[in-house]
């Protein structure tokens, strides 16, 4: 069959297809369609699955389905010692690993009544703020990419790479840091790490203003976000939305200010808020928080005292290896802690910290043994996702992507 015959044949088939009138739709606008978005969808930030009911392009209803990344961390925590669980906190919100590390050890320290030295606490603040900047950069970049501005993700990841290199120097790992210890941190900040952080802060500010210029002169970007997914203040509180999303709706609530942990009460910083509560406000909110984190970091570097980075409390806190190898008492307690755990008193505590995504809380029930009887992770992404069904109702399909991006869920945390 030559080429011309083939084209004619195909034309016949097309015509026959067009003549097929068996399927009749009486009124196209009367029909609703149910479609499935995710779990493997690039714009859902991981494995979030959404089931949408559409009327044309308008979303009539939306049901989020979670659990595709459920690894059972709460169950695993009940079967390992408090120290063993630290690496698992990296895998909760994997964009801001240090914040999770800090939050978890603070919760255990509150339960066990251990206090870390002042220098260790300042180091924790520094790494947590660096981690917050990294997480917000990822959030901004992927959010912009979701609505079509692909350049942004290159620029934000370029800055984030520098933070990862700093973590590599501080903690020995770029991504899964597991840096904090119960009673302090794993290693001290050396001069080169401090110099690197200072250099990074100098470079970050012009980069941020460049990013602002890029995005805010982009009319498509503004047009796709302004007035989309408005979350009123009352609904944000009622739905339990936390973190930047809550503040973008006009609630001035930040745990670093409301219930200061570490030494945030000694630091001067502003809590940025917006009143609009739409996707654009949530975008600005993260940008402003990065600028505040830069301020916090500068003050921390100035105020950081000299001293120990891990508490001298051999019965509860793992001592440094040089002491374990040279002193009998430390050796015995090291053996006891590794084998039987730190045995906090019977009781239960809840401690929450301000994570990049919102309030990360740990509710720990201890029965006096080395393993937690129960460890509940209150994850901010889970709370924020609960607002999706309200925000997306009545929006367009393309807005759903923008709304998910603006809420910035991380499924590793939402699914635990």
């Amino acid at each position: 069959m030559n080429r011309i015959d083939q084209i004619y044949n195909e034309e016949k088939i097309y015509k026959r297809l067009l003549e097929d009138r068996n399927l009749t739709i009486e009124d196209e606008l009367e029909n609703e369609m149910v479609i499935n978005m995710g779990p493997q969808h690039p714009a859902t930030h991981g494995v979030l699955r959404l089931v949408l009911r559409l009327d044309g392009e308008t979303v009539m209803g939306i049901v989020p389905e979670l659990g595709y990344l459920h690894r059972g961390y709460e169950k695993m925590a009940e079967n390992m010692s408090y120290i063993e669980f630290i690496p698992h906190t990296d895998r909760l919100d994997y964009t801001g690993t240090m914040c999770n590390n800090v939050g978890y050890v603070l919760a255990v320290e509150k339960l066990a009544g251990i206090e870390a030295p002042k220098r260790a606490q300042y180091i924790r603040m520094i790494v947590a703020e660096l981690s917050r900047i990294a997480a917000h950069l990822v959030a901004i970049g992927t959010f912009a990419m979701d609505v079509g501005a692909v350049t942004m993700v290159m620029w934000t990841f370029r800055e984030r790479e520098k933070i990862n290199s700093i973590f590599d120097r501080i903690a020995g790992a770029r991504f899964t840091t597991s840096y904090t210890r119960i009673g302090g941190v794993a290693s001290d900040l050396d001069d080169q790490a401090i110099a690197e952080i200072e250099q990074f802060l100098v470079e970050l500010e012009p980069a941020l203003s460049e990013m602002d210029k890029l995005m805010l002169s982009n009319r498509i970007f503004i047009g796709r976000l302004e007035g989309i997914g408005i979350l009123p203040k009352e609904d944000a509180i009622a739905l339990g939305v936390t973190g930047p999303n809550l503040r973008a709706s006009g609630v001035e609530y930040d745990i670093r200010r409301a219930k200061p942990y570490l030494f945030y009460n000694e630091i001067d910083f502003r809590i940025p808020t917006f009143t609009q509560g739409d996707c654009l406000a949530r975008y600005f909110q993260r940008g402003d928080e990065v600028k505040e984190s830069v301020k916090i970091l500068r003050q921390c570097l100035d105020k950081m005292p000299i001293g120990e980075v891990i508490a001298n409390n051999p019965k509860r806190v793992l001592s440094h290896k040089t002491e374990i190898y040279s002193k009998m008492e430390e050796l015995i307690h090291d053996f006891m802690i590794i084998n039987f755990g730190i045995n906090p008193p019977v009781g239960d505590t809840y401690l929450s910290v301000e994570n990049p995504k919102g309030e990360l809380g740990f509710y720990i029930v201890s029965n006096g043994t080395g393993q937690p009887w129960k460890l509940k992770i209150h994850s901010p992404s889970f709370c924020n996702l609960q607002a999706v069904s309200q925000l997306c109702k009545g929006a367009m399909v393309s807005d759903v992507v923008a709304i998910i991006g603006s809420l910035d869920p991380v499924m590793g945390e939402a699914d635990k």
């Binding site: 059972g72 169950k75 339990g240």
Partner: protein
């Protein structure tokens, strides 16, 4: 502690013996209340103009294993006015475990109760949409119960190579 007295006095004045125990281990204020009064107490704590616990942060449960009242429901609520996180515990004596839902008081309780139902099998009566949160529909067990092994129960989840 002032805040603790304020909250306890108000609750005792209104509910009397429904408040079973008050503790403040590590400065966390915790009220243990009777499980059949949970909605009324929640509503009171939310609506009272001096307290205003308007947001529910978290709902979970504790499985005590061998105790007679095996499950305890745990609520964490927050008041912007007092800047205080309050923990409410309710020992569940129903068997199979069930407690009234608080979704009528706090909207955010919806997903938290679904998660607790999924993990512990506690039925929240009158919940608008009590489905499993994480585990697949049709899964029979409740993973965070103490009698569920860490390695899981072989055959309880259909794996891809088993489905034919």
């Amino acid at each position: 502690m002032n805040l603790k007295e304020l909250i306890t006095d108000k609750v005792i004045e209104k509910f009397g013996t429904a408040l079973e125990e008050v503790s403040d281990f590590r400065d966390d204020i915790c009220l243990t209340v009777s499980s059949d009064q949970i909605v009324a107490i929640g509503k009171f704590l939310k609506d009272d103009s001096d307290l205003q616990f308007i947001t529910c942060k978290d709902i979970t449960a504790i499985d005590w294993g061998t105790r007679k009242k095996r499950f305890t429901a745990v609520y964490h609520i927050y008041s912007f006015k007092l800047n205080c996180t309050l923990r409410i515990k309710a020992n569940i004596d129903a068997d199979p475990p069930a407690i009234e839902t608080v979704t009528s008081v706090w909207r955010s309780a919806d997903w938290y109760e679904r998660e607790t139902f999924d993990m512990y099998g506690i039925k929240f009566t009158n919940h608008p949409d009590l489905r499993r949160m994480y585990m697949p529909e049709g899964f029979e067990h409740h993973p965070l119960r103490k009698d569920f092994p860490v390695i899981g129960i072989p055959g309880s989840l259909p794996l891809p190579h088993q489905a034919e």
